[in-house]
Symmetry: C2
DNA sequence: CCTACCGATCGGTAGG
DNA sequence: CCTACCGATCGGTAGG
């Protein structure tokens, strides 16, 4: 008895994956500090202390979620722009990939948007570094478009911040059962971003 | 002795204003739950329990900050668009006013962006209602511009969300001693927003 | 405005 | 994986 309640997802199979999945849901719904180990255990039909058979500390769950999100975003970005020359098309694909990630990993993105202060050092500096790295990729695309005379903005940096903030904001209002599918939203944001940087046909 | 450490700002004069000001700084720097009443008191040269002579509860400090921010944004918006006919110009002014508020109330905006989950009911529903009200104002401007054939976007709702998310994001990276003044950033975002909605000259 | 202190919560450990 | 429990933290009150 008591062998059920798993298969919730969780990139890593087994119990650890279940714990991460339950933690992700609760962190997104209530916030990191308002989520107790007991509550995470309860979601899995366990007692709080039992979680320590799979996790070293509550903080590790947050760290893995937040750093993992950035790793995956960086990977998706690379795949999205690979093999494309046109900076406008690259930017559009990068934005679509970003928003696609946001709508399909809403909880992760919500946690990433809100819990920076809950992340202990040294993970926090690592996260900020990875975020900066990710932002630079977008900024570079904007700069290339600018050099080639395809875009028209006064600051590539503000443009890249704007584009990322727009995209991250989708996590707040997107509903799986809403009027638009995630794919539609992603496509729309791709076009919105191009328009924001003043993209002109080649 | 012990009659110093005030004049930190705080819309309401006197001690209550000082407490709010200290709380705002700490909530923005460490987060609401990581900020103790003792720490707020310490920032004012007081003991934690002394704060209860001026404040009913820690939660009231958060509520006043968050709801107050929205009240002020709503008022600034009304002033910014009053007397203007052209929806493009109205939108530009509304965005400039928004970003102006963000750069001059960075801490407030950071708290508003991150602490929704820390806000107890019924304040939370009130805040969300006020946020929706504020978003609708932007959405209405976008819709009017669309009706008059001045803008070109597929969804006024996504456009308004994007514009607000862009603007709120400024609180994360803006530095008073940075390369651009708040006024320059606000002006830039005003133009960026118009470009994002595909604004065309009248 | 202060000291003393209560009551509750919570992460994590011990020890099976 | 569980029960029992420790140690620390913290909002708020009592009572001057």
């Amino acid at each position: 008895m008591g062998e059920d309640s798993r298969r919730l997802g969780g990139r890593t199979g087994g119990r650890l994956g279940d714990v991460r999945e339950a933690a992700l849901t609760l962190f997104a719904e209530r916030g990191y500090r308002a989520t107790t180990m007991r509550a995470i255990g309860e979601a899995l039909g366990l007692r709080g202390p039992s979680l320590y058979n799979h996790v070293g500390a509550k903080q590790e769950l947050l760290r893995d979620i937040m750093l993992g999100t950035l790793d995956r975003l960086l990977a998706e970005h690379a795949a999205a722009v690979a093999g494309i020359e046109d900076p406008a098309e690259q930017l559009r694909r990068a934005v679509v990939a970003h928003v696609r990630y946001v709508v399909s990993h809403k909880r992760e993105v919500l946690v990433n948007n809100r819990e920076v202060l809950s992340l202990d050092e040294p993970s926090r500096v690592l996260l900020v570094a990875r975020r900066n790295e990710y932002e630079r990729l977008f900024r570079n695309l904007v700069e290339r478009g600018l050099e080639e005379g395809r875009f028209e903005v006064e600051s590539a940096r503000m443009a890249s911040y704007s584009i990322l903030d727009m995209g991250n904001g989708v996590a707040v209002w997107f509903r799986e059962d809403g009027a638009m599918t995630g794919e539609e939203v992603a496509a729309h944001y791709g076009r919105l971003a191009l328009q924001a940087v003043g993209a002109r046909p080649a």
